[in-house]
Subunit: 191 residues, 2 copies
DNA sequence: TGTTATAATGAATATTTATTCAGTATCTTT
DNA sequence: AAAGATACTGAATAAATATTCATTATAACA
């Protein structure tokens, strides 16, 4: 008996992401995905029941993977600043290396595919970082009056924009610039 | 002779935007637009040659309108801080009041519809604010080492995120919070 | 190495969506 | 108020896209 090619599912996902970057979720068709993944259209239906199912599974995969990536190399023993910086760098790296994924997730969020439950799941992913900031505030590591949620937003938004402009070639990042960016963000915390 | 209803084009645009917020550009169909605008499908084709034309015209309209809005109430006589604050508030207000538009523009940017020329046009829109920051730096109003472009990104990204979370109901804004947010951003400039 | 189960193919079919068009309604002008 | 011009309608058609399926190829196992 012939078995399913486990790599194939990933190749299909990859193709969908490449297409999303190029033409958005709006522009994706099953035949385009098949062509990009260099397989026959019918093969898609061996791995996924419908197009909707494909998109949906891709979303779940990406959401889970990225949540993991954010907390890589982080542990409680790190000082507050180092902890924040680790996560900050993780997120920036993630937004750059997995840019296609980011585009997909953003568009999925405002697409016919998303469900309320998934929106809530996405919100939950933010909790760990949010809690870290809370702790920093309690321990007086953060001097500003602003609440943690606001600080979190400021960091997140900045990083997103930074990665975006880097990818688009409008503001190319290097080590110095990344360091400068972090310092800028860090200063906001008033420490 | 009967004349075209000038409001109709706007009603069609509005319908497209409402749908974009609900289901993304991916989910828009001509019949859905017609239904949302409460007209017959065929009528759409009196005002727009094709669906692509409709989307395209909407983009141009939004891009132009929003660029105007950013500079509202701003003039050279304002102090640097007041100038920045005016634009900062304009942008926040814009992202909240015209949230549907923002979603549309973001998705359009990664859709099959965008052209290279349009990408460049979007980049040009940022110039006025960018130049204001440059001047501030030259006049020593901004103390930080970071370059203007980086500062600009930090503000832009923060505001976006802020508006987004406000709309999604995760961080509801009021006057105090808006003021706190601006102060946070302003502190980054090191003044 | 032959058998078998199932993966893979891509043309055929079904479904969805864009676009057209013949008929009707309405505004404008004289 | 009648005529002319064109907006408006929505069902019919065309085009694009999703899905199926008869056929072929291949991996796993006896």
């Amino acid at each position: 008996m012939r078995t399913k090619d486990l790599n194939k599912k990933d190749r299909i996902f990859k193709a969908a992401l490449v297409l999303t970057k190029k033409v958005g979720i709006a522009g994706i068709t099953m035949s385009k995905i098949a062509k990009e993944a260099q397989i026959a259209t019918g093969t898609l239906y061996i791995y996924f029941k419908t197009k909707e199912e494909l998109i949906h599974q891709l979303y779940v995969k990406l959401e889970t993977e990225s949540a993991h990536r954010f907390l890589q190399n982080y542990d409680d023993s790190l000082s507050f600043k180092k902890g924040i910086k680790t996560i900050w760098l993780n997120y920036l790296k993630h937004r750059i290396e997995y840019f296609e994924e980011s585009i997909f997730l953003e568009q999925y969020y405002h697409s016919p595919y998303i469900t309320q439950q998934q929106k809530e799941m996405a919100e939950d992913m933010k909790q760990p970082v949010y809690r870290l900031l809370e702790t920093g505030k309690k321990n007086n590591e953060i001097k500003t009056q602003a609440d943690s949620q606001l600080l979190f937003l400021a960091m997140l938004g900045f990083i997103r924009e930074l990665a975006y402009e880097h990818i688009e070639g409008n503001y190319e990042l290097n080590e110095d610039r990344i360091e400068a960016a972090f310092q800028l963000n860090w200063r906001m915390l008033g420490s």
